[in-house]
């Protein structure tokens, strides 16, 4: 398959774009692989890509029970940022952000990464203090994050109402200019195409039913609805279904799965130049390149795999957006949907080895995994290939729940889910 370029675009224009080849193969599963990745979302496909690119040659398969990018990768609000409080997470997310910057050329696929800035609004003295603590912590790590006065915030995002007599006045904002959004489907497709070109077998409609262990306790194979596949190294990147996959290997992990909803409005002309998040009124909003406003809601309170949430949760998000931006009151919502997010107690992911030899896990990204996609795949690939955690992934080991070395972003979340 040839690279995308202006030349190929012109060539295919001559044939009315009817002769574009398939972007990746649909191979039948082989009897064995060196590495099997369970889960064909962004994180799983990125893992396969970096395994093939940086640690090959390896025979790699990605097993996806539905279609690639059909889970949380296709259901999030596409916000990308790295302004986390703790050093371990800020470094991990910034590693991802640096990869985002060149991802389109790296994959030869336009992921439409748009670093338009992520702005977090402060409505109280407490918000101001917390954000300034975040800003200082980020700056010490060399990560851009800056404080804006209400006037500066309005200059950057003209639709803000900075009247100080409002119910939730804007007292300032933290801005990460390198943050932004990307096209979520393109991320899955771009990684899939690039991984496929490096020989990775992407096998869709292939659900893992069981994990088989040898007499030494190490993983030996996965049983799927498309037959048994042998592999001595298995990486589970199954987001909300991780507890189920781990259960197949006899493991219980500190994870719970909750519904998380998002909505998009009818498309309108460009009005919203950046991403705006407000913790206090609990709203986060951006405008897609198509013109739709993309709005994120909260998680429901109960564990669920249903991929639907309560209507009162979605309407609360709209109330919050309308509180912030009364001009959107008459905008109609086009679609709403739910994903299933895998949440840990410290709201930080789990990346690394498990007590079962050969079984690796990358999960617990909770409500904010999309932004980490390239970094997550990159460090997880190194972890699988070297059978020891990548240095950026090491603090996120499963063992932290026993040692107590938490990375407590729960208390530091941009929006409290």
């Amino acid at each position: 398959m040839s690279d995308f370029s202006l030349l190929t675009l012109l060539q295919h224009t001559l044939s009315n774009h009817r002769k574009w080849p398939k972007q990746w193969r649909s191979p039948a599963p082989k009897a064995s692989y060196d590495v099997v990745i369970i889960g064909g979302g962004g994180h799983g496909l990125a893992t396969a890509y970096y395994l093939a690119k940086n640690h090959g040659p390896l025979r790699i398969a990605v097993l996806e029970k539905g279609w690639i990018g059909g889970g949380n990768t296709g259901r999030n609000t596409t916000i990308i940022r790295s302004n986390y409080l703790w050093e371990a997470s800020a470094n991990l997310y910034d590693h991802a952000l640096k990869l985002w910057a060149n991802l389109s050329s790296e994959l030869n696929y336009n992921v439409m990464f748009s670093p338009r800035g992520v702005m977090m609004l402060a409505h109280s003295i407490h918000d101001e203090q917390i954000f300034n603590r975040h800003i200082r912590a980020n700056q010490l790590l060399g990560i851009d994050n800056e404080w804006l006065t209400p006037q500066e915030a309005k200059q950057f995002c003209p639709v803000l109402d900075i009247d100080q007599n409002r119910r939730y006045p804007i007292r300032g904002a933290a801005l990460q200019r390198r943050g932004g959004v990307a096209r979520h489907d393109a991320v899955a497709w771009g990684y899939a195409r690039a991984a496929d070109r490096l020989g990775v077998d992407i096998i869709q409609n292939c659900e893992v039913i069981d994990i088989e262990k040898g007499t030494d306790g190490a993983v030996r194979a996965v049983e799927t609805n498309r037959g048994r596949i042998e592999s001595e190294r298995i990486g589970a990147v199954a987001a909300g279904n991780t507890s189920v996959i781990m259960g197949m290997a006899g493991l219980r992990i500190p994870l719970e799965t909750y519904p998380l909803q998002a909505l998009v409005s009818e498309p309108v002309k460009p009005i919203f130049p950046c991403v705006v998040m407000s913790n206090t009124v609990h709203a986060y909003i951006s405008q897609s390149s198509k013109g739709e406003l993309v709005i994120g809601a909260s998680t429901d309170q109960y564990v669920s795999y249903s991929q639907t949430g309560g209507l009162h949760i979605a309407s609360h998000a709209l109330e919050a957006v309308n509180e912030m931006f009364p001009m959107f009151r008459r905008l109609r919502m086009l679609r709403s949907w739910g994903g299933r997010v895998d949440v840990t107690v410290d709201r930080s992911p789990i990346i690394g080895k498990t007590p079962v030899p050969g079984l690796f896990v990358n999960c617990g990204w909770g409500t904010g995994g999309f932004k980490a996609t390239p970094g997550s795949g990159h460090v997880f690939a190194a972890t699988i290939a070297n059978d020891e955690p990548h240095h950026l992934a090491a603090p996120f080991a499963l063992s932290r729940f026993v040692s107590g070395a938490f990375i407590d972003e729960a208390a530091a979340a941009a929006v409290s889910h």
């Binding site: 259960g247 500190p254 795999y305 840990t344």
Partner: protein, 99 residues
């Protein structure tokens, strides 16, 4: 929004009256001084997170205020049964993973 039957009030009420309290029947270790770090981690953080029937605790916060338990299928969010504290109705929990 879920419709939940409080086993004390014996009425079906909207979810907004209730607060979810996490997985049910997790007993605090009786003798904390002898509990290892691994056992504490299991008690505090590890949850079954079942895909299917799930035993969980709810509180009728804006009603009678009492805690009760429920079995709910997490694939459909349908309640199979709600029951009072101290009870443990048998229900054949169909595990998706036999181990």
């Amino acid at each position: 929004m879920l419709l939940i039957t409080c086993p004390y009030c014996e009425e079906s009420r909207p979810e907004l009256e209730f607060h979810y309290e996490g997985e049910a029947h997790i007993a605090r270790p009786l003798n904390p001084t002898t509990v290892s770090d691994e056992e504490w981690a299991e008690f505090l953080y590890v949850r079954s997170n079942s895909r299917g029937p799930h035993r969980e605790r709810w509180r009728h916060l804006h009603g009678c205020g009492r805690f009760f338990n429920a079995i709910r299928d997490t694939r459909t969010d349908k309640f199979i049964i709600t029951y009072r504290q101290g009870e443990f109705p048998e229900h054949e929990i169909v595990e998706e993973t036999p181990k």
